[in-house]
C-alpha cells in the first residue's frame, strides 16, 4: 500500500492547469510546422503561420494560447494499491483546478446549472473520470477543453447492419457538418462500441492518446489512417477557409458491445490541444 497525500495532488493539478494553457501539448508545434509545408491554400498557410506565432507568444509570455481555457477534464488512473490520505480525491483535483485557474489568470467558463447559468468563478467542477489500474501509481491526465470544438461533437446508435461503412459515413458527415466551427486543423477522437454512456467517453479518451500514436490493433490503425485521408480530402482546411490540412490526427478507441448495437461517437479537439500528465 502506497500513501499519497491530497496536498501533492492539489499542487500538481494546479501547476499543470496553468502549464497546459500557456504551453500546448508537446509535439503540436512540430506538427503544425510540418503541415504548413503540405498546405496549398494561401489563407490556410496564413492561418497556420498565425498558429505558430501564437504558440511562441503564449509560451514566452505565459499568455493562454486560446482565450477559451475550457472546462477541465481529469482522466484519473488510480493504482489499486494506492491509499489517498488527508481528504477526498475529487476535492483535491477540484482545489487544484480552482487554484490553477485563479492564479494562472485563466478564464472561468463553468456554470453551476445548465439553466440558472451562474458562473462558479473558479472553473470547477472538473469533469473527473476515475479508472482503477493494477499497481501503486496515481496517474492524472488533464485536458483543458474548449466549447467551440466540444459543441460540434456527435453520437449515434447505429445498427450492426450499418457496419464499417455506416461508422465511416457518420464520422465524415460529422466533420462535414461541424468541422469548420471546431477550429481546424483538428484532432478527432472516435469511440466505437460499448453502450450509450461509454462510447462518448471512449471518443474523449482517444484524445488523450499521443500524437500520431496508432491504435494497437492493426485493423483500427489502418482505419485511423483511412479516415485521416478521407477527412483531408474534404478540403475544409485551416479555419475552414479551404485547403489540404483538416485533420492532424484521428484516434479510435473501441469496446465490446451488445449483439444489437453499434454505438459511435465523434469528439473534436482543436489545434489548441492542451493536455498534461501527472504521475505520483
Amino acid at each position: 500500500m502506497r500513501i499519497i497525500n491530497v496536498k501533492d495532488i492539489e499542487e500538481a493539478v494546479s501547476k499543470v492547469c496553468m502549464e497546459i494553457n500557456y504551453n500546448l501539448r508537446e509535439g503540436m508545434e512540430k506538427i503544425i510546422e510540418e503541415v504548413l509545408q503540405k498546405e496549398e491554400s494561401e489563407s490556410g498557410k496564413e492561418v497556420l503561420r498565425q498558429i505558430l506565432e501564437n504558440i511562441a507568444i503564449a509560451r514566452d509570455e505565459k499568455i493562454p494560447a486560446c482565450q477559451d481555457t475550457g472546462v477541465c477534464i481529469a482522466y484519473v488512473e488510480l493504482g489499486q494499491d494506492v491509499r489517498i490520505e488527508g481528504g477526498f480525491l475529487y476535492d483535491a483535483i477540484n482545489k487544484g483546478v480552482a487554484n490553477g485557474y485563479v492564479k494562472g489568470y485563466l478564464r472561468k467558463s463553468v456554470v453551476r446549472d445548465p439553466f440558472n447559468r451562474i458562473n462558479t468563478k473558479d472553473n470547477t467542477p472538473a469533469m473527473i473520470h476515475v479508472e482503477l489500474i493494477p499497481g501503486d501509481k496515481l496517474r492524472i491526465k488533464l485536458m483543458a477543453k474548449g466549447a467551440g470544438s466540444e459543441n460540434m461533437c456527435k453520437l449515434a446508435m447505429l445498427t450492426p447492419a450499418d457496419g464499417l461503412e455506416g461508422v465511416k459515413r457518420f464520422v465524415i458527415d460529422t466533420v462535414k457538418e461541424g468541422g469548420i466551427n471546431a477550429c481546424p486543423p483538428l484532432i478527432i477522437g472516435v469511440g466505437i462500441g460499448g453502450t450509450f454512456d461509454m462510447v462518448g467517453w471512449l471518443a474523449k479518451k482517444a484524445l488523450f492518446r499521443g500524437m500520431n500514436v496508432r491504435n494497437k490493433d492493426e485493423f483500427y490503425a489502418k482505419l485511423e489512417l483511412e479516415l485521416i485521408k478521407e477527412i483531408n480530402d474534404l478540403g475544409i482546411g485551416p479555419m475552414g477557409f479551404g485547403g489540404r490540412v483538416t485533420a492532424l490526427d484521428v484516434r479510435i478507441e473501441v469496446a465490446p458491445c451488445h449483439i444489437a448495437s453499434l454505438p459511435v461517437a465523434v469528439n473534436f479537439e482543436c489545434h489548441a490541444h492542451r493536455v498534461g500528465e501527472i504521475i505520483l
Partner: protein, 186 residues
C-alpha cells in the same frame, strides 16, 4: 493574397471594396460583445433604448477574453464561434453596424442580411488568442460589467489580423474554399 489596411469607423466604399479571402488589418476602435451582451442589445432596441455605443460604421468582435495579468492591457483574446450571434445580427446591421469578427460560418439569413445592409464578416484565427492580444493597445469596459468576460469592451486595435469570410456580394469563403480544395463530392 491582398493585404488591406482599414480604419474604423468604416464608410460604405471601403466595406464594398472588400472581397472574400482578403487579408485585412484593422486599426482603430472595435467593440466586444458575445451571447449575453447581444441579448441585452436586442432588449434595449426593442424597448427603444440607446445602445452602449453607436453601431454606425463600427465593428463588433465576438470575444470573451481571459483576465489580464497585472500590468497587461488584456488577456488572451481570440474569437468565439459566430453562429450563436446570427439571430442578433440583422437588428444591429439596421442601425449601421458594418462588420463583425468571429470564427466559423454564418447562417444564410445572416449572409443575406449582410448583403441587404452592405456589411462584411471577418474571421480571426480561432485559438490565436495570445497573438491577437498583442494587437490590442487599449481596453475599456463600457457596459454590462456584471457579465464578467462577456462585458462590452471598447478596444483600440492596431494591425488586428483578419480574413474576409463574407463580403457585401454574398460570397462565402467556407463554400468557395471547400469547392476549390475538395477531392470528393459534397
Amino acid at each position: 493574397m491582398r493585404i488591406i489596411k482599414i480604419t474604423t469607423p468604416l464608410n460604405d466604399d471601403v466595406v464594398k471594396s472588400l472581397r472574400v479571402g482578403d487579408k485585412v488589418e484593422i486599426n482603430g476602435v472595435i467593440y466586444t460583445a458575445r451571447d449575453a451582451a447581444h441579448k441585452r442589445f436586442i432588449d434595449a432596441i426593442n424597448k427603444g433604448e440607446k445602445l452602449p455605443f453607436d453601431p454606425k460604421g463600427q465593428i463588433i468582435y465576438y470575444v470573451g477574453p481571459t483576465p489580464p495579468r497585472p500590468g497587461m492591457i488584456i488577456g488572451s483574446a481570440g474569437p468565439t464561434s459566430s453562429y450563436r450571434m446570427d439571430v442578433f445580427l440583422e437588428p444591429l446591421l439596421k442601425l449601421g453596424l458594418k462588420g463583425t469578427i468571429g470564427k466559423g460560418y454564418r447562417s444564410q439569413a445572416a449572409i443575406d442580411a449582410m448583403v441587404k445592409y452592405g456589411a462584411v464578416y471577418f474571421v480571426a484565427v480561432g485559438g490565436a488568442g495570445a497573438l491577437i492580444s498583442k494587437r490590442i493597445k487599449k481596453a475599456e469596459i463600457i457596459a454590462y460589467e456584471d457579465l464578467g468576460t462577456e462585458a462590452v469592451n471598447k478596444l483600440e486595435v492596431e494591425s488586428f489580423p483578419v480574413i474576409v469570410a463574407n463580403d457585401t456580394l454574398g460570397n462565402d469563403i467556407f463554400k468557395l474554399g471547400v469547392q476549390r480544395y475538395s477531392r470528393v463530392k459534397y
